[in-house]
Amino acid sequence: MTSPEIPSPPPHHGSGHTEGRPAAERRPAAGQGTAAGTALAVLVAVVVTAVACLTTVYLSSQSARAAVAWGSGAAGAVLCVAVAVAAHGVLTGRQLRAQLAAQQAEAAQREAAAAHFADSVVPSVVERLRAGGSAETALAEAPPVHSPAERRVLITLATEVHKGESMRASALSACANAAGRVQALATSMAADLREMEHKHADENVLGDLLHLDHRTAQAGRLADSIAVLTGARSGRRWAKPIVMESILRGAMGRIGGYQRVRLHSTSGVAVAGHAAEGVMHTLAELMDNAANFSPPTSEVHVYVEEVAAGIVITIEDGGLVMGEVALRRAERLVSPDAADPGLATLSGTRLGLAVVGRLARKHGLSVSFRPSAHGGTGVLVRVPRELVTETQREEPLGEPSAAAPRTEERVTVPGTAHERGEAEHPAGSEHAPTPAHGVQYGESGLPKRRRGQTLAAVARTEAGPGRTASATAASTASGASAAGPGTEGGTRQARPSGARFGDFRRAVQGGSPPEDGGGTAENDSGTPENVTTPSAASPASSPARASSLPEDDTE
């Protein structure tokens, strides 16, 4: 790095120096002045004493003249010496006092300059460097410095601080970037694992997959923690509000000892999608603390309570009660009022509370600690009202929102499908085979066509010939992703085919018990499906497939 130039001081500034330097030059002149003054005083004294001596000698008698001359001469000489000494002393004293005053003033100036350097120049330079400025910019914008030594100090300081700052920034961004990649990997691994869990029905394989899934979730949480601490964006975004049960289970699934966590929640509220991930992560960290700091055999209990100000989630463990110091440290870390302590307080191994503090400040959660009734520590997390939404519930029980519309459909469709099936199936209606997909009947009594349904019918037609028995239909439900083109094929196809299976059966049965569903009723609605859907198939093959339908149902 090139050594930056520090601007030279303006002439009006630092008057102490401008006075100081001439004062040093003036010192010999002052010495000469002292000598001249002394000489002048001696001259005057000599003249005066000489005149006095001559007058005395002249006035004295002849006989005593020699003695008087010697006496007065000596006295005059003594007087002159005394005058010279006195004059010199006075003049020297005056000069020394002046010098002292000048040096005192100079010292005061230097002290003020040093204070200015320490209190104003250095902080402003450091502040500019912390704000991201380069060393040159910071030095150029700094208040002028006069002393070369101070200038060197400032240059060294700026260079070093800038180096430290840039190291910190690059380390942070590298960490954030790496954490983001690990997050993305963990997310896609979780999606893959879920797909595999749908695909493999074997219990041993499923057990291994669940184990891997759990490990992946823990790795994902660690990456999330690092992302939160480095200020990167949080891992997942949920588009819809997440119900409390899912929040708690999502949090619980990310910690090692999740099987020790007991959820006691009857609350049906949901947390807004944008904050759901933060709340989940906060709860996961607190549950992890609770599980880690309690005996491995004890349970961690989680309670949810709806209050006026939002939701309070209590996590209680049966471990050790936190000490006074630990409690205060924890409170400080998660306090929303405290300034963000940054990464300075990280202790290396314990990231949890720092993460909780960050997330709490971000989402306005309030976290507090108290002794637990279970003997350990209880943590209370309050999720503010703004982040809480009510889910529409048909029943007082917490019900996943995805299941709600289907339940309703299920209640209404069988009756209508069966009644109308009689009238419409002979007419060869295209929509007849799909009563399960929630065909809505308009005021005219004709089915309403829904967007995308025709395409879906085509897709079903293509898949139709391969499906000969219920076993195949079922395996499509559990493992359609093997044949499905996309990653989501399994879940997307599982629903229609599985639902279709049941709806077909229900349409066949109507109100009658399932055991009594006779072959005639099946043929009623079953045959049209196979006659109308495979439009490309040869008519000769239709009876064969139609005959396979009863198996579908009564097997």
């Binding site: 869990e197 029905a201 041993n204 669940l210 289970r249 009857t266 989940m280 079922a474 139609a546 005959s547």
Partner: protein, 120 residues
């Protein structure tokens, strides 16, 4: 409902089953088409999947259909059903096994039906 590459559900399956990968009542208690009927109403504080199963199974419902409705793998549904069966909240009915040949209608009748349908 689901977009490709997105996992729209924060519930991991091991939290749904509590970490178990096998059913409490044995693997052969439920096959894909076993009809499940609920014997009690869902109670408060119950796991939402259990409650949903009890609600859906008010009318007899096949296991595979439950899986499709809840969007869960059949193996996981079996574990959940095992819990409910052990608690006596559901009963399982194995569908009557009918020999395929017995159930087959006469091809002639089917042909007549086909012809009749075409004539409509």
């Amino acid at each position: 409902m689901k977009r490709p590459g997105r996992d729209e559900d924060p519930d991991r399956l091991y939290t749904v089953t509590g970490g178990r990968s096998r059913s409490a009542v044995g693997a052969d208690a439920f096959d894909l088409v076993t009809l499940v009927v609920s014997e009690s109403e869902p109670v408060r504080g119950m796991q939402s999947e259990h409650a949903a199963i009890l609600r859906i199974c008010r009318s007899p419902t096949a296991v595979v259909e439950l899986a499709a409705d809840l969007g869960l793998p059949v193996s996981v549904i079996r574990i959940l059903l095992g819990d409910l069966l052990a608690a006596g909240r559901i009963t399982a009915r194995h569908p009557r096994t009918v020999r395929a040949a017995d159930a087959l209608p006469d091809p002639d009748i089917l042909k007549q039906v086909l012809v009749g349908l075409r004539n409509i």
